[in-house]
Amino acid sequence: MTCDDFRRLISAYRDDEMEADDRRKVIEHMRSCDSCRNFAEEIDGLGDVLRKLPPAPCPPDIEQAVIEKIQAFDQHASEKKSFWNGYYRIPRGVAWAAALALALLIIEVTVNPFEHKGDEQSPSIPSESTPYVQKVVFSEYDVVYSTPVTDMHTNN
């Protein structure tokens, strides 16, 4: 291992994030290498000074802004909820009546069980006195035969 490899390990050694085997190697190397020992002391010193930098506490106006944002979020959420609550305030009897009416309407439109059969156009039965004309049309080129019923009777 080179000194550069050892210095990578020294950084982790300083943070106490190292396997026992590597730790032993680093300690042994630093005993014999002044340059790596100096490096370890330098980063130790820098770490100590870094930790001296005072922490910056969250300013009160930022705290207040967080609280206000949360209140605004809550209010927005409750407004959305109250929109639906408005529908829940309809009297239960009225709601059931409306639901029943809607159900009946759907049934009427789709199934139509109340439809009167007599309204359908059924073939009318000619009476005895009605002159009956038979018409058979196959296509526009076919001959149309039309024979009055009375004539048919007279022919017989």
Binding site: R7, R8, S11, A12, D15, E17, E42, I43, L46, G47, V49, L50, R51, K52, L53, P54, P55, A56, P57, C58, P59, D61, I62, E63, A65, V66, K69, I70, F73
Partner: protein, 172 residues
């Protein structure tokens, strides 16, 4: 208010009280800008509030907050081409009183670092995360993180030495 919402609200209060200062401090040290740090803090806590009150379970709230804060900071810096302004960073940090020359120089050195280097140092030195937690926040492996920390420390040491030499030259 439903029970779920009440539980989420209670959870949020605890998280907010415990971590508001640390999230703000992290965002400020990473971006060097008080406005951005404030915006990031607000957004992060609003997001976690929504999550908690909607019944989502957050296993590691501290990690969750720092992942969100870090992503928001990086996005802001990327979108606005944000550059750390030393004056603002210094102002924020010296609000409590004068600093020693070595702390001031180190602050300058820290803000001359690339944000990628700066974030690993902040997470390790200020926030005290373990390598495992940092790897989760930075979305990298532990060996990669070890390497990043080493490189960041080496570059910080180089910049700091350069600033010390320059300072010594000015003193003379």
């Amino acid at each position: 208010m439903t029970q779920r919402r009440k539980d989420g609200d209670g959870c949020f209060r605890e998280v907010f009280i415990r971590y508001k200062d640390r999230v703000y401090d992290f965002a400020l040290k990473l971006t060097g800008d008080t406005d951005t740090a404030g915006d990031v803090t607000q957004e992060v806590f609003l997001r976690i509030y929504k999550q908690l009150t909607q019944g989502h379970r957050i296993e590691h709230p501290r990690r969750w907050l720092f992942i969100s804060a870090r992503n928001l900071c990086l996005n802001t810096m990327r979108n606005e081409r944000h550059t750390t302004t030393l004056a603002e960073a210094d102002f924020a940090a010296t609000a409590d009183g004068p600093e020693s020359p070595e702390v001031m120089l180190l602050r300058k050195a820290l803000h001359q670092l690339d944000p990628n280097d700066r974030e690993v140092l902040i997470l390790k030195e200020y926030q005290g995360f373990t390598y495992r937690e940092m790897a989760a926040i930075l979305e990298c492996t532990i060996p990669a993180l070890r390497s990043r920390l080493y490189e960041a420390r080496k570059r910080l040491r180089d910049i700091y030495s350069r600033l010390c030499k320059r300072g010594a030259n000015y003193d003379m």
